[in-house]
């Protein structure tokens, strides 16, 4: 509450002080300067109280026994103290007419404190985000500053206490306000994109819902501003309705500030758990993949409705404007009624839930064991829907090795595994598995699905085309320190070499003698008996795969177009190498049985150098659908 109150009070003081020396220009018949400086001083006094209240509340959260000592030890506390100092300086400056403008500038600068103590700046993500957040608050403050004085001027003009036509004042404000508000919206959009994160958060988190309230109020502000601009364009228009529109704009501005203050206090949508509120979601691509034939007729109908509605509107626009709008509107409404259900797919509360497991070999291995225990009876040992228990079911269990698994969100899969699928024989396993176990199962299902996609991997790196997320793997070095492939993220590429045959160790020795370059590490994955034969070498890490989990997980990525190799009892390949870029994507693969002539050391070094020059193009988070 303190944040919004301080903002409104400081902004109002900016307005009073900025206009206080302009009494002569406004043609005031009273001592406008003294009166408005007094108003500003009162507003600044309220702001100081609000800041002090906020500082105390912040201190109580940190240390209830010594709130005033705790608060200055934090960034927020120091920002609030600095803000209070600048507000106090503005208060001093408001005492004389000569320094009123200085007071306005100081008060305006104090508004920056609102942004500096907010999430976007305090999180210290990037200077651009901080600059956008500060610009958003300060330009919005300048706009807000003008509203109070404008309302008062309207009343004074009505009573004849101000001789300059109110219309002139309003026209001057309007010229500046529109570009200022567009700048506020642009900067606010940058901050909102970061703080909301994913679009479902707009609908399914308190942050998104409050942002919606704020946006609705902003739309109202623009609507009342547009009405005022039209009013200004009409020379003989009445005086009074414009005052009402301005009052509405002021009320909406307060709603915007109130919603903004709330947004600053709650968890940004990007950091909040998403519980989807509806039984459907609009997802054209997913809908097309899942039921394309059913979509054709409604989409064609929707397009026809738009065309017909548009033609009717164009035809009638000169003679019957009302009918024209009605025709076009009916076309759009009909198109929406046809198209929106067609592009909808089923959704559940967990549809956008975030996985609690890492995308790593251990999780996939645990998922494989859970699958064996709970699922293989119906879905078959290798996931192709050919289990003995499934044969008697009225609906054949899904073939989980097909790409459709990856077309659903992971949260949808979680819901089905937990609660079962309504109208299908698939039961829920929520009572016999833990939350973490169901996410591990999903990791295993994703490995199956991505393994199918991995057939498209080649032996050459395709420039700027990362798409297959590497599976994290861990190893312990000779000193007992634990390492992970993900530790290299943002720093080094990796050549993951999976060895099933000790005769292939010569390749590792060759790599040790001629490493793939300074920007890449070699990580050898081998069972203990093979790993034991490998002598330590600089630049080569050895992940001893005691339980076979890494080989099993990465084995999903063995499939090629030449060896689709869908059966898991296929013979093991003696050696497979995958080149992983520094952002965690598998970019190329060589199988010893398919590409006996490996990329030369020079070619490998060139590929690593090319990858090192690539920027980050996307997140390797397999759980982000």
């Amino acid at each position: 509450m303190g944040r919004g109150l301080a903002f409104v009070a400081i902004a109002q003081a900016v307005g009073w002080l900025a206009l206080a020396p302009r009494g002569a220009w406004l043609g005031a018949t009273f001592d406008l300067c003294s009166r408005w400086r007094a108003l500003a001083a009162a507003a600044l006094g309220v702001a100081l109280l609000a800041i002090a209240w906020r500082l105390h509340a912040h201190g109580v959260e940190l240390d209830p026994d010594a709130p005033w000592r705790a608060a200055p030890q934090t960034w927020v506390g120091r920002v609030l103290i600095a803000q209070a100092c600048v507000v106090a300086a503005a208060l001093v400056a408001s005492r004389t007419a000569r320094t009123a403008t200085l007071g306005a500038v100081l008060a305006w600068l104090a508004l920056a404190g609102t942004a500096l103590s907010g999430h976007a700046v305090a999180a210290d993500v990037s200077p651009w985000l901080s600059a956008a957040a500060i610009a958003h608050v300060m330009v919005a403050g300048a706009w807000c500053a003008a509203l109070g004085p404008l309302l008062l001027l309207h009343r004074a003009a009505s009573a004849g206490h101000v001789t300059r036509p109110w219309r002139d004042v309003l026209a001057r404000f309007s010229r500046v306000a529109l570009p200022a508000m567009l700048a506020v919206v642009a900067a606010g959009t940058v901050v909102a994109l970061w703080s909301v994160g994913r679009w479902p958060a707009l609908f399914a988190t308190p942050y998104g819902q409050w942002l919606g309230i704020k946006l609705a109020a902003v739309v109202g502000v623009f609507a009342s501003a547009a009405w005022l601009r039209r009013w200004l364009a009409r020379p003989a228009a009445a005086h009074r309705p414009a005052g009402r529109a301005l009052a509405i704009e002021c009320a909406l501005a307060l709603a915007v500030v109130g919603a903004a203050g709330t947004l600053a206090d709650i968890v940004p949508g990007a950091h909040d758990a998403i519980t989807w509120p509806d039984a459907f979601r609009w997802a054209p691509l997913d809908a097309w993949r899942l039921h394309a034939p059913d979509m054709v007729a409604p989409l064609v109908g929707a397009a026809a409705a738009i065309v017909v509605g548009g033609l009717v509107g164009l035809r009638l626009r000169r003679r019957h404007a009302g009918l024209a709008w009605g025709g076009a509107g009916t076309g759009v409404a009909l198109a929406a009624a046809l198209a929106l259900p067609a592009i909808a797919v089923d959704a559940y509360p967990s549809t956008y839930a975030a996985a609690v497991t890492p995308w790593d070999a251990a999780s996939i291995a645990a998922g494989a064991q859970l699958y064996e225990r709970h699922c293989s009876g119906c879905h078959g040992r290798t996931g192709r829907g050919d289990g003995a228990a499934g044969a008697a079911l009225p609906v054949r269990p899904a073939n989980l090795t097909e790409p459709h698994v990856g077309w659903h969100t992971h949260g949808d899969l979680w819901w089905w595994i937990t609660h079962g699928i309504a109208g299908a024989p698939m039961p829920g396993f929520g009572a016999v598995t833990t939350d973490v176990e169901r996410w591990q199962l999903i990791d295993w299902l994703m490995a199956l699905s991505l393994g199918h996609e991995a057939r498209n991997l080649g032996t050459r790196v395709l420039s700027r085309a990362p798409w297959l997320p590497a599976i994290d793997l861990r190893w312990t070095d000779a000193a007992g320190r634990e390492h992970a492939l993900s530790d290299l993220r943002g720093r080094e590429a990796a050549l993951v070499v999976l060895i099933h045959d000790a005769r292939e160790l010569d390749r590792v020795r060759a790599l040790a003698a001629s490493p793939p370059g300074p920007g890449a590490r070699v990580i050898v994955v081998a069972a203990p008996p093979i790993a034991a034969q490998l002598e330590p070498a600089a630049g080569v890490d050895v992940a001893v795969d005691a339980d076979g989990a890494i080989a099993a997980a990465w084995g999903h990525y063995r499939r090629t177009l030449a060896s689709p190799d869908l059966r898991d009892d296929a013979p093991l390949v003696a050696r497979i190498e995958w080149l992983v870029d520094r952002f965690g994507f598998v970019r190329a693969r060589w199988r010893a049985d398919e590409a006996p002539v490996f990329a030369s050391a020079d070619a490998l070094r060139a590929a690593v150098a090319a990858l090192a020059a690539e920027p980050e193009l996307r997140s390797p988070d397999v759980h982000a659908h």
Binding site: W75, S117, A122, C250, A255, G258, T262, V267, E482
Partner: protein, 125 residues
Amino acid sequence: MTARGLRAVSAAALVASMVLAPAAHAHSWLVKSEPRAGATLAQPPAEVVLVFAEAVEPAFVKIAVHRDGKPVQPAPVPVLAADAKSATVPLGAAAGPGAWSIDWRIVARDGHRSNGTLRFVVKPR
């Protein structure tokens, strides 16, 4: 609507939006740690590194280290990185086999609080 009515509605809207604002949640969390959560190590680590999603307040990083349920004495003092996004907890002489838990409690730079527990096991082979 009259001007007085508008004033009343706008004041009510502002007060309502401020009063109805939900209480601040904690939203700065552990994104990574060394050792990792749930890890089983052959040798005890010399230190534990906690990496947070955002910068935290150095004066309000509280760590409690337990080994097999008992508080480790003397209590390790966390050292914060220059960017205030990670804390290193030296285990020193206390490092040894057992079930370890690191309770952490932080205040993010935007003033919100967060807490959690990192668990790992040291089991010599």
